[in-house]
């Protein structure tokens, strides 16, 4: 698939998302800004929430929350939107011969741009509160690319299945809700039972990248490389599996669409 076509799809995605609204693309800035503001005001100023194992600062818990939620939102949006991309673009697929496996890439790019905007605002907040993590920041693109490869693989897998069984889209939403609460995004692992903490380390790939962001933004140290290496293997294995499934069912997918 032509790369310029992917960028055209991405641009169109942003145009479609904000077309008709008075503030237009400004909404992409307003949403994360409001999220950071609310978490800071509620948890730092109203509830004075303290993070177990944190430095004891006022902003520890808001930083803990936002550093986990921003990547999670990009991750889940990528999965849910990729899982419906073939049906949404079927009018195009029926007219032009597009490479199916590369079509959802525009969703990944679009969500990456949205994340980059939100993340820049978050960095502004960290700079204002004197909490910037320093050189470890350079790890963030690496972790983000890995999480998006994983999200792309899962999205592609669900996208293929969704063509044949429309319930998959609803199931994905439910599974992601369970996954949200099973991953330490709003709760702290230290308060969870021992078995749940061990489960996170062994079988929850989302926790591997969320914990890596927390290592950088909350604890200001090198992320767990072994967990990230496991994520590399799982993310690429899922992508490979999804790609094989797509190749195997490609003719049927085009017939169904």
């Amino acid at each position: 698939m032509n790369i310029s076509l992917l960028f055209d799809f991405t641009r169109q995605d942003f145009v479609d998302r904000y077309s008709g609204s008075a503030l237009g693309a400004l909404w992409a800035f307003i949403h994360p800004l409001v999220m950071i503001f609310i978490f800071t005001v509620i948890f730092a100023n109203v509830m004075s929430a303290k993070l177990p194992g944190g430095s004891g600062g006022n902003y520890d818990y808001p930083i803990y929350l936002v550093s986990g939620l921003l990547p999670w939102i990009a991750f889940t949006n990528t999965i849910t939107r990729c899982s419906t991309v073939f049906l949404e673009k079927r009018h195009l697929l029926n007219k032009i011969r597009l490479t199916l496996a590369y079509l959802p890439v525009y969703v990944v790019i679009s969500e990456t741009v949205t994340f980059a905007i939100a993340f820049t605002l978050f960095l502004g907040f960290l700079a204002a509160t004197n909490q910037l993590p320093g050189a470890w920041l350079l790890f963030v693109p690496l972790i983000f690319i890995l999480q998006q490869i994983f999200a792309f693989g899962l999205g592609l897998l669900f996208g293929v299945l969704n063509v044949f069984l429309r319930d998959v889209k609803e199931l994905v939403t439910i599974v992601l809700t369970f996954w949200f609460w099973l991953t330490p995004l709003v709760w702290v692992p230290a308060v969870a039972p021992e078995w749940l903490q061990q489960l996170q380390d062994y079988i929850n790939p989302a926790n591997w990248f969320i914990a890596a962001y927390r290592d950088i933004f909350v604890h200001h140290h090198l992320p767990d490389i072994n967990a990230l290496s496991r994520l590399v293997i799982i993310a690429h294995a899922v992508l490979l599996g999804a790609w094989f499934l797509l190749k195997w069912l490609e003719k049927d997918i085009r017939d169904f669409l």
């Binding site: 350079l138 490389i225 290496s229 490979l240």
Partner: protein, 57 residues
């Protein structure tokens, strides 16, 4: 400093190889090679970071 120079160099090399794969090899094989290349790249960068930055810390 050395770490970031090495990883930047590795990234450039990987992107050049990826571009060459996309230009030279068509069809299914190019995707398989790109996935394998990406896996190898991330594993190497992560192990390098543990080796260099872990020791430096």
């Amino acid at each position: 400093m050395y770490f970031f120079l090495i990883t930047t160099g590795l990234t450039v090399v990987m992107l050049l190889i990826a571009k060459w794969v996309l230009w030279r090899i068509n069809g299914s094989r190019s995707t398989l090679i790109l996935i394998a290349l990406s896996t190898l790249y991330f594993l190497v960068v992560l192990q390098l970071s543990q080796f260099i930055l872990g020791h430096a810390a």
